[in-house]
Amino acid sequence: MTFEPKIVGILCNWCSYTGADLAGTARIKYAPNVRVVRVMCSGRVDPTFVLKAFAEGADGVLVAGCHPGDCHYIEGNYKTMRRMALFKKMLADYGIEPGRFRLEWVSASEGDRWAKVVNQITEEVRKLGPAKLRAPRRKKIPA
Amino acid sequence: MTRISIDPITRLEGHGKIEIFLGDDGSVSNCYFQVPELRGFEKFVEGMPIEEVPRVVSRICGV
């Protein structure tokens, strides 16, 4: 029984979600392990979302946005860049392997790139195994 | 042998307990003082920027 990673993907509406949609309409075959959440801009992605995904059982998390310079809201993805860079340092301190979290830029026309990114993160997380976050007993995530 | 437990010790800062063992004649045969607490400051400040350490180790004792 091969381990099937559960990966949460948080995608910006204008570029990466559209790119992922294109992968679908182009009937590209790729790993089904990413569960997609759509936000309007990757700059909306609060590191809390990523931590909550891990805390609730995700083995990996992928944040995707427009290429720098192409953000629909002009500056949003620069904020993403800065936030995720600092966030990666915090994740490392929490002992989460770097392969479990990725920030990628995927444009609306890059359906094949989306498929490639998903396949890559799925394989990397598969190799790392389930994210055994050693939370103590009696865990309850506040709503 | 009679055993008297003082748990917790009081009117001081910190956790402790005392176990007193009395012989049949009522005199103290033996007495043990135990410290049932540990937080591990010695370990968890490792790697912290040096100027942050005083703000952390001041919490070893608030008294």
Partner: protein
């Protein structure tokens, strides 16, 4: 009006919260007039056996401070919950895990190794470590089990109110006592004795525009004490910390480290700190961002100094 039966107990604590209660100075006499202390190890001689003998709900209010670090702390958390009508997580340790929560980057094995074997001033040739049970000629001695993970109080029992602060300020303690005595408390589960806004809202330092181009440390640079520390590049958790302490750290010349916990609606203070601080960095390319962020050493312990046990991930995965 009958006197309130009051208890104050410390788990993995430092005593600072008890001292803060005493720092209400002459108001302690008003507290003594309104309440009968039925259990307070720092100041009275009541024993665990006395608490165990009480009927359930006998204590009107228990102020529980300190984090839960071992089985004795856990036992008292459950015991005091049963014996108290109102249980208050008093101080940052009980609220969020506090400074002892920094141990969640390690585990029992690593901590015992350092404490009982490797510290430079320890002489322990037989490698003795604390045991939960030790057989002596006269009888068996016991010690609590030291857990791998530190927990805030509400990971174990239902908490009625939270009073944040390391320690809570005497001014706020007095406000909370008055609220308890007059029965004017908000809904259960609320944070009391603190503001509903962030530190920045009450901070009197001059604020302009935040555009950080480099981070500084007080080990190597001198801050200006009239201007916002974060603007100058000194890490300050004010934007992601609940107010209520009258910005005592900022007024003492150091930046906020977040002891009053997250503002209302924030699930993870460290994550919010990443978000708030990174978003005001002035840089648009990866290399420049990397260079600026390299100046923040020790990310997790700097961005979530007091609340790792209460954070979403709770501890480091080892």
């Amino acid at each position: 009006m009958a006197k309130l039966k009051l208890a104050s107990y410390w788990a993995a604590a430092c005593g600072g919260c008890d001292v803060a209660i005493l720092d209400t100075h002459e108001k302690i006499l008003d507290i003594a007039a309104a309440a009968d202390i039925v259990f307070w190890p720092i100041a009275t001689d009541f024993k665990y056996a006395d608490v165990e003998a009480m009927p359930d709900g006998h204590i009107d209010v228990t102020l529980f401070h300190g984090a839960v670090r071992n089985s004795e702390n856990e036992h008292l958390a459950h015991l005091l919950r049963a014996k108290s009508k109102v249980l208050v997580a008093f101080g940052t340790c009980a609220h969020l895990g506090g400074i002892p929560g920094l141990a969640n980057l390690f585990d029992r094995k690593a901590i015992f190794k350092r404490v009982y074997h490797d510290t430079q001033s320890t002489v322990n040739p037989d490698g003795v470590e604390p045991q939960t049970k030790t057989q002596m000629p006269e009888g068996e001695l016991t010690l609590p089990e030291f857990y791998d993970t530190v927990m805030p109080l509400d990971h174990l029992v239902e908490v009625d109110y939270y009073v944040p602060g390391c320690p809570p300020t005497p001014k706020q303690i007095w406000a909370v006592v008055q609220a308890i005595v007059s029965g004017q408390l908000p809904p259960k589960g609320s944070v009391v004795g603190a503001s509903e806004k962030t530190q920045c809202d009450e901070c009197k330092l001059k604020k302009n525009e935040k555009k950080i181009t480099s981070f500084k440390r007080i080990a190597t640079a001198q801050p200006e004490h009239e201007t916002c520390y974060l603007e100058q590049g000194f890490l300050c958790l004010g934007p992601v910390t609940r107010g209520g302490c009258d910005t005592r750290c900022q007024l003492s010349g150091v930046a906020c480290r977040g002891c009053y916990g997250p503002p209302p609606g924030v699930l993870d203070q460290g994550a919010k700190a990443v978000s708030a601080i990174a978003s005001v960095i002035e840089a648009k390319d990866e290399a420049e961002i990397g260079r600026i962020l390299a100046e923040i050493p020790d990310a997790l312990r700097s961005l979530n100094r007091f609340g790792i046990p209460a954070s979403l991930l709770r501890r480091k995965t080892l």
